[in-house]
């Protein structure tokens, strides 16, 4: 029942933080994942450093200090978390529209991502998101 009610509601999340620098990235992805699971329509506008969250060439690494191999360390890459969220949305029939700010992508050179459903956009798209959303949560960087 709740999922049907939430399907009528749209939440936009606005992200700024790059991966691995702050717990805000983790909290943001936790919130987005939960919103998808609960049946909300979700918009994400990623700009500034957050455009790197989806960068294709992120790689795992081992941990020689603690003697852990690549497999043992299983270091998470944010691109894989986002891919999982998008796949979850598809399986549930939830709507998620993730836009990468083109200006921020260009200046950082993170042109490549391989996540179906993610697209390049601009601040004009953020304005459209705000207009169509029931609410907007901006998670600002420090």
């Amino acid at each position: 029942m709740e999922n049907q009610e939430n399907l009528k509601k749209t939440i936009t999340f606005v992200l700024m933080d790059p991966p691995y620098e702050n717990a805000r990235s983790t909290s943001a992805l936790r919130l987005i994942s939960l919103a998808v699971k609960r049946g909300f329509n979700v918009n994400v506008f990623a700009y500034e450093g957050a455009v790197s969250l989806a960068f294709l060439h992120q790689k795992q690494h081992g941990n020689s200090i603690h003697g852990r191999s690549l497999e043992e360390e299983d270091h998470p890459n944010t691109k894989d978390w986002i891919t999982a969220i998008m796949q979850d949305a598809k399986q549930r029939g939830s709507l998620i529209d993730w836009i990468q700010c083109g200006f921020c992508v260009d200046e950082r050179g993170v042109f490549e991502w391989d996540i179906p459903g993610m697209r390049r956009g601009s601040p004009a798209d953020l304005a459209k998101f705000v207009e169509v959303s029931d609410n907007v949560l901006v998670i600002p960087t420090k």
Binding site: A23, L31, D134
Partner: protein, 108 residues
């Protein structure tokens, strides 16, 4: 009267800004708004009994709802019995519910 959810992600030992947010909550409440504070990430440090801060207990006494993210508590090894009385252990569902209800939600 409006409903506000103020999300505090920072701890008061690293930045004075936390005091400003708590002061904002107090003032909004005095203006007869419905106010909640949700502590997440290092913000949950404000809610420890052993922190010997009065920030949170003061807000609770003024009927500001203070909630903490259960995941953030676990990450930091803060047990529920070390939380200031009156603080509610909660989850991110609370944030989504507030957003869905069109409350005014601010992340600090």
């Amino acid at each position: 009267m409006s409903k506000y959810l103020l999300i505090e992600s920072r701890d008061p030992f690293s930045t004075n800004d936390v005091y400003y947010l708590f002061s904002l909550a107090e003032k909004l409440k005095k203006h007869e708004n419905d106010v909640s504070i949700f502590l997440i990430q290092n913000g949950v440090f404000s809610a420890r009994k052993t922190a010997k801060l009065e920030l949170v207990s003061k807000l609770c006494s003024q009927n500001v709802s203070v909630l903490v993210d259960d995941f953030s508590l676990k990450e930091r090894g803060i047990l529920p019995n070390n939380i200031v009385p009156g603080v509610i252990v909660s989850s991110l569902d609370f944030i989504l519910d507030s957003l869905a209800n069109k409350d005014k939600v601010l992340w600090h």
